[in-house]
Symmetry: C2
Subunit: 506 residues, 2 copies
Amino acid sequence: MPAEESNRCQVTAKTFVDNKLIEAIDRMSELKVPSRSEDFSEWYNQLVLRAELADYAPVRGCMIVRPYGWALWENIQQALDRRFKATGHVNAAFPLLIPRSFIEKEKSHVAGFSPELAVVTHGGGEELEEPLVIRPTSETIIGHAYSKWIQSYRDLPVLINQWNSVVRWELRTKLFLRTLEFFWQEGHTAHATFEEAETETRQMLDIYTDFAVNDAAIPVIPGRKSPSERFAGADQTYSIEAMMGDGKALQAGTSHNLGQNFAKAFDIRYLDKNGTLQDCWTTSWGLSTRFIGAIIMVHSDDQGLLLPPKLAPQQVVIVPIYKTEEESARVLEAAKRIRAELVASHFRTILDEREGVSPGFKFNDWEMRGIPLRIEIGPKDLTKNTVVLARRDKPGKEGKLSINQDALAGAVGEMLAAIQKSLYDRALAFREAKTLDTENYDDFKSAIESGFAFSFWCGDPDCEQKIKEETKATLRCIPIKQPRRSGSCIKCGKPAGEQAYFAKAY
Amino acid sequence: MPAEESNRCQVTAKTFVDNKLIEAIDRMSELKVPSRSEDFSEWYNQLVLRAELADYAPVRGCMIVRPYGWALWENIQQALDRRFKATGHVNAAFPLLIPRSFIEKEKSHVAGFSPELAVVTHGGGEELEEPLVIRPTSETIIGHAYSKWIQSYRDLPVLINQWNSVVRWELRTKLFLRTLEFFWQEGHTAHATFEEAETETRQMLDIYTDFAVNDAAIPVIPGRKSPSERFAGADQTYSIEAMMGDGKALQAGTSHNLGQNFAKAFDIRYLDKNGTLQDCWTTSWGLSTRFIGAIIMVHSDDQGLLLPPKLAPQQVVIVPIYKTEEESARVLEAAKRIRAELVASHFRTILDEREGVSPGFKFNDWEMRGIPLRIEIGPKDLTKNTVVLARRDKPGKEGKLSINQDALAGAVGEMLAAIQKSLYDRALAFREAKTLDTENYDDFKSAIESGFAFSFWCGDPDCEQKIKEETKATLRCIPIKQPRRSGSCIKCGKPAGEQAYFAKAY
């Protein structure tokens, strides 16, 4: 069942019985989760729904981020916000509604965003004199504000971020990856010089890289985009690119050096130390709920989600095992003590006390939701003063370890760190195995069928365009790290100074 | 200059020089901040702008929450979110866009919100089949989701909150107090019984009260609204009401028992333990950036803002005092050491190292921004190993205390607690002095000229309506605590069982 069809929440008059029937059919179809290898796209859709990360909204292409998905996003927010504040940024909130004329002030910007706008034409029962758009991104309205707030070099730099949602009228949508409304942060900074703006742009790319690698356990390639893939209105766009479990690429965060384009369009000027009026240099950078899609598609498996410990809403689930009522009382008492001990040691821990369902059902249920570590405790463990730790990333006996309860907090900490590292190593090995340093076009075409091609490119947009038409692969980025000095363009064979990653992409 | 006129950011073609000229005039007019007693409304507007809490947006009635204002809101968010999570609530995110037909499903709801809607008629360059509205509140779209998610009594209660912004097409706007777009949290819960829903509604009212009293130092009156002042679609609305510095009332948070109204309109049903299909009972509750307006109007004075220590973005500012370069080096070294010590003790502390401005200028600047505690340190202090603490809430020598540096962290903690308490006590004393327990209509009319009238009301909407027409006072709430058992209605004289607060209100 494709995503579009399962979005059955059309606004039609339905009786309650109809609703319940449709839902029952939905749930039956949900039982058939295909394996990753069978149908990666549908495996992804079903995981998102079954793990209750998100649901379809009644408006086409919009999503509801359910509590479990939002708890994951809150952890992502905290991990990024901490880094933003440590580098001197502050948060603010700019309005949702932007005069349509603002979008038209910067030429490339209007070309890029006009086709995607949601337009408010009526307010308070009356037609508006000038239509308003719901922000697709906030460069224009923030540029307008900065032109008021910035007068002199003493006001610079301005380093502001905001957490919000934006609307872009996408035609083909998929939960988290591409939705009409999505949640993100957008940073917007203004500087006195090109160099400062470029340093900021690169700093934020480094912060995204550090977050992806160290918190999300996702190996990413930081690099710059080709001119054709730049943000509408940017002089330079950088991105981090990640390989998904099906070998396709996903752009997981972007950082733009906007040059003086928005400064000129919105009069963002300052008086320098010599009393001369100068245009500012601005940047913008963003990371969105799309990143949740990346976490799912990099780490998860046929059992369900697998969340990196540093971002998982719950890191540890305790499943008590018992048969008799007497056992139940003793086991639950110990399980509660263990939970309290782990919570005190700052591990996000839950205890599954549900009655009427078997431990096996609980194991499957929490595996589906991707909790990295399970603790099993039964009557035998009480006698031996032990518990069993079971890693989500290693199935069966290989991932199990019986440890003494007295050493619990230390062992949990070590095992979560080991899982975090193992997820990263596995994803990196996968990417490396599926990335080919290709020197001829046949190898190139073969490489992008299952992963990335890393190839020299002469810089000619024609070559880039032909590759796209012939193979459906796009130029993902020209990485910062260039292992070789020169070679031949993979398409035209002319001399080329840089290698780029090419791949099919989300 | 009234708020509306100062919103000069009309979208017109202006040259840069024009812009700068207009801004210079603006800044000149900003210099004339009237005193609280002179012009309370304009004093408020100027404080918001000068302390850089918020600014006007280019769209009429919208606001930009600037970094200082947003940092205050982030502290409010944390204080509330902690309480929500401690009582079992989780966060989620529902879409911004709602099919217009949803609003029409609940009769009272559509009557209340239709006139205030912002309507999206075009998306992606095409006219939409069904217009969408930007959420004015989310009962309808959340009700729709709950009807899918809730099947059985095992799924209940559902306890979800979201932090977002909503849009209501207000005609008369004022920064923070009433804006087209405002920021808030909206909690939405579903329960199996009326009793559980009522308990939840009252619990959230208690949480708002606890937050207002203990974190914002604002004494509030928790009570229930009269039927005419209920939320559109609620069976019962509770609110917390606070007295502002001009004696007017402000509704600072609301909690609604929605009965089965939305459950019936959106088919939110569950199978009970006996297998019978039942309608759910739902609640909603919200607190918005309006609360920032309350903090300003309750605590601030002619010197500027005065923020309660528990919510202030910065609790302590260190101002170094020196004349020579040699002094400057020594004083700054000590100031930095003190800052590090206070930050390590978890006090939000900044050091004002600006050069070229006098200590007196810095004192005024931080008083305007409402930082509760100032630390002054100069060469004499170094010799004596002391610093001077200066309380923002007590002007002049009365609020100053010289203490030994070795006792600093303890003294700062005590003084911040004392300021927090003093702000609350002062606001409570002010409210009590301006609240009259009135038994005749003349006293009543006189009371509401400067504050609250606390009077018996027979419950007849006609009496309430006549009072409103004749005095402009509205019934703020019927407080939970009723000191007396019975009396005569202040308007018609008939027997009445409850007293209510009446006041002019924001």
